[in-house]
């Protein structure tokens, strides 16, 4: 041992420290370390030949090579390691995973490349970390929580969405999507597609020249602009629960044409048949797709008596009173809990029919009629319905040209109703008197937790006082949920607060 130390002293000081370490390790291994953790064994091999060469360059003595202090048994990878590497290398042709021991399995999964074909991995690998790697490699931003907390679900859902987004009817082979179906059918719960490409136009160049005529010409070509039919795909996905669709094109830039955003009747019919056949569907969203009354009626007719549907979102469409009436009918023919008709063209008759349905409904929890024009007639009808309804908790009537009469009725409702927790009356013309009446109604209410009266011409003071009452209610609710025994205390505190305000 003396001699190698001497030669080492020649080579370098820092090296000597390494060598002593190595030596100690070799001594340790001489005593017998078969169970040396294999991980460090991976790193030495590349360094070994380097050291060898440098050593040879520094001093050409064979003895020293034989007494290489860096040499250790740990450098030779164990057979299991080699096997695992081989398995990883040939995983595509011969996937061996289930037969392995758990520790080896984990190792293989860590080493597998995320680029392996899905046909191999889809039904074989259930390890989350592998799919996490796949996801992070493919997309920079990943919200796992949106996909039920499962990376695998997220991967397949986003993969399928991606395919659908870029599917061009008549040019793309439908087999591309249908081939994926057996692989992803168990992992897709949610499908959110915000773009459906129309079929490729026959004469794209001339149309781009005159954008002013495009609208009229698109109408002529309408029959040819059917989008991808979801029927086959959705029928194959046995666990689909959420469907979020937008019939439109994103990032069209200067190629804008009106017919890019067409939701045709055949699309509508096929979609209706699709959602009718999908009994697991819970949430259905079809937004920003120019759904007018007739199409809405077609869709809603197919949704009547649907066994699972809980949420229906048709916001940002062109639905009028007839569509509203159809959805009112749907309210009492399904288990719908959330209905969103924001930014449509519902007027007073539609709101009246919705109110009629709402009066005796026991399922609906949330109703959103933002940016419609139901006016006082509709608002009063809804207020009347709320006097008997015992289920609705959230009501959004923002931007509906409501005014004082509705406010008076609503104040009565506030005094009676004990289920409503959130009301939004922003962007209406409630007026000063209406605000006062609402304040009176609020004084008797103990359940409302949110009350939005912004930009509704209500006096500052009454808005402030309403806000205080609401916050007091919120406090009380919080006290009640955290410790019911202190409820009385909270109530007294709130009273004192009110007197102070």
């Amino acid at each position: 041992m003396q001699e190698p130390l001497g030669t080492l002293a020649l080579s370098a000081l820092n090296r000597s420290s390494v060598s002593t370490q190595d030596k100690s390790s070799t001594v340790a291994q001489a005593s017998g370390t078969a169970a040396q953790p294999p991980r460090p064994s991976n790193t030495p091999p590349p360094s070994k030949p380097k050291g060898w060469n440098s050593r040879a360059g520094v001093s050409r003595m064979r003895r020293i090579i034989a007494e290489d202090p860096e040499w250790s048994l740990a450098i030779v990878p164990p057979l299991t390691e080699l096997c695992i590497q081989h398995i990883v290398k040939n995983f595509q042709n011969n996937p061996i995973l289930k037969e392995l021991l758990p520790e080896h399995k984990q190792k293989v999964l860590d080493l597998l490349s995320p680029d392996l074909p899905l046909a191999v991995t889809a039904n074989l690998i259930h390890d989350e970390s592998y799919w996490r790697r796949c996801c992070t490699q493919r997309w920079p931003v990943c919200h796992v929580a949106k996909h039920g907390g499962s990376w695998k679900h997220m991967f397949f859902e986003r993969h399928l969405e991606n395919l659908l987004k870029h599917f061009i009817p008549n040019t793309t082979d439908p087999a591309v999507i249908l081939d994926l179906l057996p692989l992803c059918r168990n992992y897709v719960r949610r499908l959110s597609v915000d773009q459906f490409l129309p079929p490729v136009k026959l004469r794209p160049p001339p149309r781009s020249g005159d954008p002013s005529d495009s609208g009229s010409e698109a109408e002529l070509e309408e029959p040819a602009t059917d989008h991808y039919q979801l029927g086959d795909l959705v029928a194959g996905l046995s666990h689909l629960e959420e469907l979020d669709l937008v019939y439109g094109v994103k990032d069209c830039g200067m190629n804008f044409e009106w017919n890019l955003f067409l939701f045709t009747y055949s699309d509508c019919h096929s979609l209706a048949a699709t959602i009718k056949a999908c009994h697991t569907l819970k949430i259905f969203r079809l937004t920003r797709s120019k759904v007018d009354d007739d199409k809405a009626r077609i869709l809603i007719r197919s949704l009547l008596d649907h066994p699972a549907l809980e949420e229906l979102d048709l916001s940002h469409n062109l639905i009028g009173d007839r569509g509203a009436r159809a959805s009112a009918k749907l309210l009492n023919h399904s288990h719908l809990r959330v209905l969103n008709l924001a930014n449509n063209r519902v007027r007073a008759p539609g709101a009246q029919s919705l109110a009629y349905a709402l009066a005796h409904n026991t399922n609906l929890i949330s109703l959103n009629l933002r940016l419609n024009c139901i006016e006082d007639e509709g608002g009063q009808a809804l207020a009347h319905a709320l006097q008997t309804n015992r289920c609705l908790t959230t009501l959004h009537l923002g931007g509906n040209e409501l005014s004082e009469p509705t406010a008076t009725l609503l104040s009565q409702v506030l005094a009676i109703n004990t289920t409503l927790t959130s009301i939004n009356l922003s962007c209406n013309h409630i007026g000063l008197d209406g605000g006062k009446q609402l304040l009176e109604g609020m004084s008797d209410n103990r359940t409302l937790l949110e009350f939005d009266l912004r930009l509704s011409d209500v006096a500052q003071e009454s808005e402030y006082l309403i806000g205080q009452a609401v916050s007091a209610n919120r406090e009380a609710a919080r006290w009640q949920t955290s410790n019911p025994s202190h409820f009385m205390l909270a109530v007294s505190a709130k009273d004192s607060e009110n007197s102070a305000g």
Partner: protein, 723 residues
């Protein structure tokens, strides 16, 4: 606890934070709504501040009221309230943009609608005017066709052209206007787009700001809370330390006290020990002296004792001598006694053997005697049998003799009566009435009414009931046979039928099979016979008892209670005896009392068995002791016999006898007269005969032929009466 100064700072900060984003949009935009909104926010912030002050007061008040709650809790509450407010304000701030956009959109829509309406109106007007113009032009064309002069035509065409141009001009104008509008709309669209992108930018900014602020404030609050916790902990630690130290101090003082006490106690104990030791020493000495004295006394006593001992020794030696002598004597006596015992044992053995022998002898004797006794018993039995036989035979013979004598007597009596009657009727011409005596009707020995067996009665009953339909009256008359009691024939019969039907189990199955071919009544008879034999009913009385029992049972009407049935049984037996006694009387009287017997049909067939059981139970009791009675029963009383015979002998009263004597003398006389008369009659007769014979001779002579031959016949002379 965070100091109030820091709170103030925080409020200031928050004010700044709230004001900065508001100022941005309000200054930048010339949109009135946004300005309004900004003002509103400012006011809201002011109100918020005021409210917070109030809340602070309220919190202070709360603090006083809830002293028990810890500082950290309060800090937490405070922070939570603050953060909630912050979040609320932040979200309001962020959503304000959306709300503003909404209201803008609404206003735009309203305006758009208005403009659209105007535009439509305008277009309609335009269409109307242009239509009018067009109509004018078309009318003109018609006019133009009529024009033949080229100049006119040209003029007209020109004017038409001008008109058309005007029309087109109008249309073009409209189009240009619309295009202008479109352009402005485009511009506005672009503006709107820009505005919206600005809005989005602001939104993003605010969101970022909000996130930052919220993060910052959260961190700050977290710090405060942590500080509060730290302080609380410190306080807690210090207070705990204090208490700990106090406790330690107290402990120390107590320890000291204990030590002092201990020392004192030790001293005390030492003193006590010394005292004790002294006292012990004194006492020891005292005891020692006393004990020495005792020792001396004891030694003296010992000497005395020794002396007495010696004395005693000598006495005892003497006693020993005496005892030895006595012992010798006793041994001699013992041997004598032993010998005596042996002798006595021998005697005892002899006696025992004798005793055994005697026992054997007596047993043999006993056996022989018992065999003798048995023999005698059998002999006695045979004798009894013979006696019974002889008694029976005697009886029979007696009866026969009786009957014979009676017959004889009766013949004699009858003859006497006949004679009497003849005397009366023929000689005396008096009406004769036959004397009617009970003993005349008697046949056989008195008081030995033949004991009929049950079967006989049965037979009678059944036969009678069969005949009943034809001769009811006869049965009524004869009923004295079967109805000594209040039971009618019908009921008896019905009860028997019922019994026969219900208690078929008592009959052997073989008998049943044999009975099948027989007639009904015979069948019943045999069945009842079998049943009675099974029940142990032999005599007539038993049968009546049974029937009566049935009826009584029904009357008492409590079939289930055993006590009552036994009671009725007792009653029955009593009554039965009475009835038995009454029987003869009633026989003589021949008038059975007619009570209304309860119909036996009321007896339910199911009760029959119970009744039967009760009856059998009751019947067995009196049956236990009838055998000796029966022997006595056969000893008939002779008291009436002599009277009977006397009566028979004196059937003709002495008056009649006297009559007869008188009659006899009279008749004797009469007889003499009659005999004389008879003699006379005989003579008369003989004379008559001579007469007739003579007449006959005469006749003969008259009739002879000589008469004829004679001229004068005698006949004519004689005048003989012709025949």
């Amino acid at each position: 606890m965070n100091p109030p100064g820091s709170l103030g700072i925080l409020e200031d900060k928050e004010k700044e934070r709230l004001s900065t984003p508001i100022l941005g949009p309000s200054i930048l935009s010339d949109n009135p709504y946004e300005r309004i909104q900004a003002r509103r926010l400012r006011i809201a912030a002011r109100l918020e501040a005021r409210r917070r002050e109030a809340l602070g007061e309220y919190l202070d008040g709360k603090k006083e009221s809830e002293e028990d709650q810890s500082k950290s809790f309060k800090q937490k509450e405070e922070s939570r309230l603050k953060l909630a407010k912050l979040l609320l304000c932040g979200t309001e701030l962020v959503t304000n943009i959306q709300v503003a956009a909404d209201i803008r959109e609404i206003h735009r829509r309203v305006e758009e609608e208005e403009i659209k309406r105007q535009r439509l109106e305008k277009l309609e007007n335009e269409v109307k005017t242009s239509q009018d113009k067009f109509d004018q032009i078309t009318v003109r064309w018609e006019e133009g066709k009529q024009k033949r002069i080229p100049q006119d035509l040209w003029d007209m065409l020109n004017t038409q052209k001008a008109h058309c141009a005007g029309l087109i001009e109008d249309k073009n104008k409209l189009i240009s206007e619309l295009q202008q509008e479109l352009k402005t709309k485009d511009d506005q669209y672009v503006k709107d787009l820009k505005k919206q992108s600005d809005d989005i930018c602001v939104l993003l900014e605010r969101m970022e700001e909000q996130v930052k602020n919220v993060m910052k404030s959260f961190r700050q609050e977290l710090n405060y809370i942590e500080k509060a916790f730290e302080m609380e902990r410190q306080d807690l630690l210090t207070s705990n330390k204090k208490t700990w130290e106090q406790a330690l101090q107290a402990h120390k003082t107590k320890e000291l006290e204990y030590l002092l006490n201990r020392i004192k106690k030790v001293e005390d104990y030492e003193k006590q020990l010394n005292k004790q030791r002294e006292w012990d020493c004194e006492e020891y000495n005292k005891i020692k002296i006393k004990l020495e004295q005792d020792v001396q006394i004891l030694e003296q006593q010992l000497q005395q004792m020794k002396a007495t001992y010696q004395l005693n020794q000598e006495k005892l030696e003497y006693n020993v001598q005496v005892l030895k002598k006595r012992d010798e004597e006793s041994t001699v006596i013992k041997s004598q006694q032993k010998r005596k015992i042996n002798r006595l044992h021998d005697i005892l053995n002899n006696l025992r053997s004798k005793y055994a022998k005697q026992i054997r002898q007596f047993q043999e004797e006993n056996q022989s005697l018992t065999s003798d006794y048995k023999h005698l018993v059998t002999q006695f039995k045979e004798l009894q049998k013979a006696i019974r036989h002889f008694a029976f035979i005697d009886d029979k013979r007696f009866r026969e003799i009786w009957l014979m004598n009676e017959e004889e007597a009766k013949d004699l009596i009858n003859r006497a009566f006949d004679v009497d009657r003849i005397i009366h009727t023929q000689h005396l011409g008096l009406p004769w009435t036959a004397p009617d005596f009970w003993f005349l009707r008697n046949v056989g020995p008195i008081s030995q009414q033949p004991q009929r067996s049950a079967t006989q009665i049965l037979e009678e009953v059944l036969l009678q009931t069969e005949e009943e339909g034809t001769e009811e009256a006869a049965s009524e008359a004869e009923s004295y046979l079967d109805l000594p009691k209040q039971i009618s024939m019908k009921t008896t019969r019905k009860i028997l039928m019922l019994l026969c039907d219900e208690s078929g189990f008592l009959i052997e199955s073989k008998l049943l099979s044999l009975l099948r071919p027989l007639e009904r009544s015979e069948c019943y008879l045999l069945k009842l016979d079998a049943i009675f034999s099974a029940l142990g009913i032999e005599s007539e009385d038993d049968l009546y008892k049974l029937v009566n029992f049935f009826l009584k049972y029904r009357v008492y009407h409590s079939p289930s209670s055993q006590e009552q049935t036994s009671l009725t049984l007792a009653l029955d037996s009593g009554e039965q005896a009475d009835l038995k006694r009454q029987k003869e009387g009633s026989l003589v009287e021949g008038e059975p009392e007619e009570k209304a017997p309860p119909s036996p049909t009321l007896i339910h067939p199911n009760e029959v068995l119970k009744i039967l059981e009760a009856f059998v139970m009751g019947l067995k009791k009196p049956r236990d002791s009838p055998t000796p009675v029966r022997l006595v029963k056969y000893l008939r009383d002779n008291s009436k016999d002599s009277a009977y015979w006397e009566a028979l002998a004196t059937v003709i009263p002495p008056a009649t006898l006297n009559l007869w004597d008188a009659l006899y003398t009279a008749l004797e006389k009469y007889h003499v007269v009659l005999t004389q008369r008879a003699k006379l009659l005989m003579e008369n007769k003989a004379l008559e005969q001579q007469n007739t014979e003579l007449q006959m001779l005469l006749q003969q002579y008259l009739d002879s032929k000589i008469n004829s031959e004679l001229h004068v016949p005698p006949t004519q002379v004689l005048r003989v009466p012709t025949k």
